[in-house]
Symmetry: C2
Subunit: 349 residues, 2 copies
DNA sequence: ACTTAGCACTCGTAGTGATCGAGTGCTAAC
DNA sequence: GTTAGCACTCGATCACTACGAGTGCTAAGT
């Protein structure tokens, strides 16, 4: 276990390194106003901290920098509860959202942009999950008799509306459509979107078989209506804000370091995996190699989830170098997540 | 006017510089197999070419590099008609598209990705324009009586379907909705999407006033149905592919040069302005400062438009350094644009 | 009159060595 | 247990040199 003095030294060192991005020496620390011990003593303590794995030395005659373990300890036990002046953020956040928010997609993109500009790091936002949303109603609107085209309208219980073009199979009497839609609604309302397809083949198929005539055609139609939506549920929308802010960090001034990261930003799948496992509780911090994706082993990711009506539906995250202003970011993310939840809940009322 | 020999020298020099990204000296050129003149002569010619503005010298004792004017001349008069072996591209392109292409958005994104991987530069794709598409039909589907919500379904003449949630104003009898929709269809079918709103207030308003009762409410409803679509027409979808490929270019190995470019990639508006003015003819090349956007004054942009049923509906572009493999890119873009047009036309049959 | 060999000159790059200074670890004194 | 002192390490910086690619010019060759 660390002594109190070691903790103080570790904290001051991490704070300083986060600010300066330069290895911190013993003299620098001892010059701190509230530090009453000499550089030599600090040197001894630092040697101990290094032995314990909290610090690292880039080379023999340089200062120390925090190791991953050091950051972890800092985040868990040492971090300053942030300056309350920043609470003014709340109003900033709220007012930033005052602009148009009619479309889900815009809201999510806006969210990413604002979050990034607030933190000065890259922001990642995972759009509202369809996993938790259920079918509210399904409708079918004929477009044209000749081409047998129609539009299926799927309304979710949180008010989102999706529409898909479908083709009415040959031999299926258009007059029967109304019947079919009624059947679907009777059977499928309340089913979570991602289970729609399964429910279709269990719940609906049986009943449908009793009508018997045109069973094949109807199922083909239903599959069309449900399939794309199931797909949309799988392919979650994910948005980046301020992807290039990562370039402001001195640790990524080198293009070779930068490239894999920016490449990753184009791969939705990897981004998804990154946010995967965001707990529904408070704010989560993943430091360096704690991240599942190798590409960001020199980064830290701070995540939080947001809710609609108390139900977690998505995640927001901030990506920066391991040398990240954890205090400020965690604070911001905390407020942001609740602001966003509040806003979305209102929006879907 | 340039002599034949000057043209040859300019061509060889540009070819070499495009390949190597290093200033080209007189010896290098004279060593070319089909070059039968001495370095000294070439030096004299190069001095002349520099005086005429086709070449530049980074510093006194370096070789020459093409100036913007040099590139322009190269593209207009000297460029190799590309190796026909690459015509195999066509099949590559066609087969790349064989995967799922159900949704417009996916097609456009795919297009950008493929185009980028074919050229090894960054690709920019402007989704099908709504400017040229006309209204085919409009329908309204009631969602729920209590909340007075409905979905307006707008079908365009190229088969695209859009849907918007609308609120039915208080005091508007739901029974009358069918009437209204008929009126809209009678008056608005065939009107280009971006003129819908205008047409609503000229064509429809008059006729509607004769029904007189509920004029206000109905117009409010119509406005909702048309407004968002008009907006979507303005906010064109634009997609990037291989944004990070620009980092492979030696001229952008410096983060300071890179940042403004990548920043721009996040600004849809600027990207739009970039592609603005893409002619409907063949392939267009904009070199360096010929581009409207200052950020890409050190880049070249090769663009082409694509069509649906012969009508130009969007644009594709490739962005790289001024030292770009013009021949290959132009060739690829040419084939790509026709493949894409062909594919989209089929898709919307 | 054009071409070319020769040569002095320019200028960026790479390598070398000296110096500097921040920072350490250790020892000995407090 | 703390601290002052000191030798030592090692990266960063800078001046200096050598090198070489490439030029422009001049003068000789065709």
């Amino acid at each position: 276990m660390l002594t109190d003095r070691q903790k103080v030294i570790l904290q001051v060192l991490v704070d300083d390194y986060i600010r300066s991005a330069e290895p911190v020496g013993s003299r620098t620390i001892s010059k701190r106003p509230d530090m009453s011990i000499s550089p030599a003593t600090i040197r001894n303590e630092m040697a101990d901290l290094e032995e314990l794995g909290y610090l690292e030395q880039p080379h023999t005659s340089a200062g120390r920098i925090p190791s991953q373990k050091g950051y972890r300890f800092y985040v868990d036990h040492l971090m300053n509860p942030d300056n309350d002046e920043e609470s003014s953020d709340v109003s900033t956040i709220r007012s930033s959202f005052l602009t148009r928010l009619d479309e889900m997609e815009q809201v999510v993109q806006q969210t990413a942009t604002i979050l990034s500009s607030l933190t000065n790091y890259t922001a990642i936002v995972l759009g509202p999950q369809v996993f938790t949303t259920k079918l509210h109603s399904i409708q079918l609107q004929l477009l044209s008799l000749e081409t047998r085209m129609a539009v299926a309208i799927i309304v979710t219980d949180n008010g989102h509306v999706e529409s898909r073009k479908v083709m009415i199979p040959e031999g299926l009497p258009p007059e029967a459509l109304q019947h079919y839609v009624e059947l679907l609604n009777r059977k499928l309302v309340g089913v979570p979107l991602h289970k729609l397809k399964m429910a279709l083949h269990t719940e609906v198929a049986d009943e449908l078989r009793r009508y018997s005539e045109q069973f094949e055609g109807a199922m083909m139609l239903f599959d069309q209506m449900v399939e794309p939506t199931d797909e949309a549920a799988g392919a979650q929308k994910i948005y980046l804000g301020g992807a290039t802010r990562i370039m402001n960090q001195p640790e990524f001034r080198d293009v070779e370091k930068l490239k894999p990261l920016l490449d990753m930003f184009e791969q939705t799948q990897k981004l998804l995996r990154m946010l995967e496992g965001t707990s529904t509780g408070g704010v989560q911090v993943r430091i360096g190699q704690e991240n599942a994706i190798e590409t960001i082993h020199e980064c830290s990711l701070v995540t939080a989830s947001y809710t609609i009506d108390g139900i977690p539906v998505g995640a927001i995250g901030v990506l920066g170098p391991t040398r990240m202003e954890y205090g400020r970011v965690i604070h911001t993310l905390h407020q942001f997540s609740s602001s966003l939840s509040h806003m979305l809940t209102q929006l879907y009322k």
